[in-house]
């Protein structure tokens, strides 16, 4: 029993953090939100090069995985830096394409970052259908390769660009591992949300330390401190749930991690907005990139209610 990240895992997180900091992700997100994908794709290639998508892909298909703990570590960093794109969906697609035929055909390109994937039920909204080469539709008769997508629809989080998958297309497998894929989707979303919450907390702590009112930094007021302490407590207790879920990959653990991390991140977003005041309520201030994402991730891949229902189902 050693329930702590090892040196290698921490180094992996640090190197991703350094790379993403240097990449100026806020401006990449803004371009992505406008449908300009060039820099986003370049960033995607570097994330893939760091091995992130390969962690969800078995070694037999040119991946490094499956390694859910490292994947969770990586997705915390992707969330901390508000990286846009179908990150969770690409991981979920990798988990869905388990049969040897489709796996051999699609997984190497997903692992290397050469292609992005999106996944949704047939006819439902899928994230970033316009930039993904692999559009997977969960249809009544199995997993299909969607033949195309409808127009892009804007969203509360401008970085999330939704498109409906067109029906029909090639049947890849009649019996895809949906339950398994949902675990990977929820784990990645939970880790990403935790990262989003950590970023919101970090930025808000910095802000209240320098914003002066009544002659002192507002961070010296107890009412401000206590809201931030509560955010810290919620995030610090969500963290072991996320990592523990990655270790066990048990549905109940993954669901508990998803609901706890997303609720913690969302509560932190509310605190961050309140403590920033009006500046936090503007689109041009970078905080908005994380604020809207915290809201979106809360319902992505399982609402709080869905996840709590899974928790109550037990092991």
């Amino acid at each position: 029993m050693r329930f702590l990240l090892d040196t290698e895992q921490r180094a992996f997180a640090n190197s991703l953090d350094a790379m993403l900091t240097a990449a100026d992700t806020p401006s990449v997100v803004r371009e992505w939100s406008r449908g300009e994908h060039t820099r986003g794709r370049a960033l995607w290639a570097r994330i893939a090069e760091a091995g992130v998508f390969a962690l969800a892909v078995p070694e037999a298909y040119e991946g490094l995985g499956p390694r859910p703990v490292e994947l969770a570590v990586a997705f915390m960093e992707l969330g901390r830096h508000a990286v846009p794109g179908p990150l969770v969906e690409t991981v979920t697609a990798a988990a869905l394409l388990g049969d040897p035929g489709p796996a051999k055909r699609f997984l190497p390109a997903l692992a290397s970052g050469e292609s992005m994937a999106t996944v949704a039920h047939e006819g439902a909204y899928a994230l970033d259908g316009d930039v993904t080469a692999v559009r997977l539709a969960l249809a009544v008769d199995g997993l299909r390769l969607a033949p195309g997508h409808g127009p892009v629809r804007g969203f509360l989080d401008p970085a999330r660009r939704l498109t409906r998958l067109l029906p029909g297309g090639e049947l890849l497998t009649p019996d895809p591992p949906v339950d398994r894929a949902l675990l990977w989707a929820r784990l990645a979303t939970a880790a990403q949300a935790l990262g989003v919450g950590l970023a919101l907390l970090e930025r808000t702590v910095a802000y209240v330390g320098q914003r002066v009112q009544f002659g002192v930094p507002i961070g010296s007021f107890q009412a401000v401190k206590h809201r931030l302490a509560d955010a810290k407590i919620a995030l610090e207790f969500a963290r072991p749930l996320v990592l523990g879920a990655a270790v066990t990959m048990a549905p109940v653990d993954v669901a508990a991690a998803k609901v706890s991390a997303c609720e913690a991140a969302y509560a932190t977003a509310r605190t961050a907005l309140q403590l920033h005041g009006a500046i936090g309520y503007t689109a041009e201030y970078d905080l908005s990139l994380w604020l809207t994402k915290a809201r979106a991730l809360r319902t992505a891949w399982g609402t709080p209610h869905d996840c709590r229902t899974e928790v109550l189902r037990g092991p």
């Binding site: 029993m1 050693r2 329930f3 702590l4 990240l5 090892d6 895992q9 703990v69 907390l201 702590v205 209240v208 330390g209 002192v216 930094p217 961070g219 010296s220 007021f221 107890q222 401000v224 401190k225 206590h226 931030l228 302490a229 509560d230 810290k232 407590i233 610090e236 207790f237 969500a238 072991p240 749930l241 990592l243 523990g244 270790v247 066990t248 653990d253 508990a256 609901v259 706890s260 709080p304 209610h305 996840c307 709590r308 229902t309 928790v311 109550l312 037990g314």
Partner: protein, 379 residues
């Protein structure tokens, strides 16, 4: 990163489970906040100690099993899953003992710990005073130099377990002239039946004497009962306070078992939809607390200290405990609030959590200032 127990740890779990199955009383003991219950719990501590299960993580020479933190966590899971009674020796075991391990002398450890392990001597904590609760630096009770020891005078209050306990430990002002209030304090152990000690039990919300006031009038304490250096009591006490807020006071095993009971209660009551979120959050919260403890234990085994992170723990468990019991009482209605209901007993006990061991307001200040680095300010 893993959650795997070694074969030896699994064997320890199996041994603990088998022993507990054979020994845990089949009917709950009466509340330990009553004279009858206190005696019954003391007898239970002796039964645990007879087979070396009362303090598994202590060294064997004091009655433990040298089991280490991970096995302690495992034992606590098994203990509460088996329905083991609340521990009347807890104040001594989780507050005084760690202080003795860190700051006591070998003579003190050999003299104090074995009788603590068996429940022969039950310890009460004597921190608070009428004008000093979470602000321990404003303590006024005095320790005055005497031949071969000290004389204690003053008043302590909210002293948990003191109504029926044997001995107590706390901080006393030994040098009233120091410039800073947390200097000049000395950490002492004293006998609750010594001449000059008056114990006045205080009924908590449900009337049970869970704590007491202590009036001390020139109570003699020999030098051998000073822990650490005279005047250094604050530093000595802070290591104890960290324990109180941190891992050992509320073991994850207790909450895992309580969440499991709540889950069963909810199912038995026909799974009412209005309680669904609260029950799910209780289950997730117990798991979060367990995993947080495993991470903390792993860090301790790496040689790190918990430090101000214990304040995260304190706020979490104290509020979690109340939420869990509130949900149970809401599910049970009047039946749950009956005086002999275990949920009512647990609820009243939980209500005090955010107040003692440093109020949650103090803990949030510590989180904000020491973990987040926010500026100090007016409270």
């Amino acid at each position: 990163m893993d959650l795997d127990l070694t074969p030896a740890e699994e064997a320890f779990r199996a041994e603990a489970r088998a022993w507990l199955r054979a020994h845990v009383p089949s009917a709950p003991l009466p509340s330990l906040e009553t004279e009858e219950g206190f005696a019954a719990h003391r007898a239970w501590e002796a039964e645990l100690a007879a087979d070396r299960w009362s303090v598994v993580n202590w060294p064997a020479r004091y009655g433990g099993r040298d089991a280490g933190l991970i096995r302690w966590l495992v034992f606590e899971e098994e203990y509460y899953a088996a329905g083991g009674p609340g521990r009347v020796g807890q104040n001594g075991i989780s507050l005084l003992a760690p202080t003795l391990f860190d700051h006591g002398t070998e003579e003190q450890r050999a003299r104090v710990l074995p009788s603590m392990a068996t429940g022969e001597v039950v310890w009460a904590q004597a921190w608070s005073e009428p004008e000093a609760g979470s602000d321990l630096a404003s303590l006024r009770s005095r320790a005055t130099r005497a031949d071969g020891g000290w004389r204690l005078s003053g008043q302590k209050t909210w002293s948990s377990r003191a109504a029926f306990a044997d001995r107590a430990f706390g901080l006393f002002r030994s040098d009233p002239d120091t410039p800073r209030p947390h200097q000049g304090l000395t950490y002492l152990m004293f006998d609750l039946r010594a001449p000059g000690v008056t114990v006045r039990p205080i009924g908590r919300l449900d009337g049970k004497p869970a704590f007491a006031e202590l009036f001390l009038d020139e109570v003699f304490v020999p030098d051998e009962d000073v822990i650490g250096e005279p005047g250094q009591g604050w530093r000595v006490a802070m290591s104890t306070a960290g324990n109180e807020r941190g891992l050992t006071l509320r073991s994850p095993g207790r909450f895992l078992a309580a969440a499991d009971r709540l889950h069963r209660l909810w199912r038995d009551r026909g799974r009412p939809a209005w309680a669904q979120d609260r029950v799910a959050d209780a289950l997730a919260g117990a798991r979060a607390y367990q995993l947080f403890a495993y991470a903390a234990a792993s860090r301790l085994l790496d040689g790190e200290s918990i430090g101000p992170k214990s304040s995260l723990n304190k706020v979490f468990w104290s509020e979690y405990d109340i939420a869990l019991h509130e949900t149970a009482l809401d599910l049970l209605s009047e039946e749950g609030e009956a005086a002999d209901s275990a949920w009512a007993e647990g609820y009243v006990f939980a209500l005090a959590g955010p107040v003692y061991a440093g109020t949650n307001e103090i803990q949030r200040d510590i989180v904000a200032e020491r973990l987040l680095g926010l500026p100090k300010g007016r409270r």
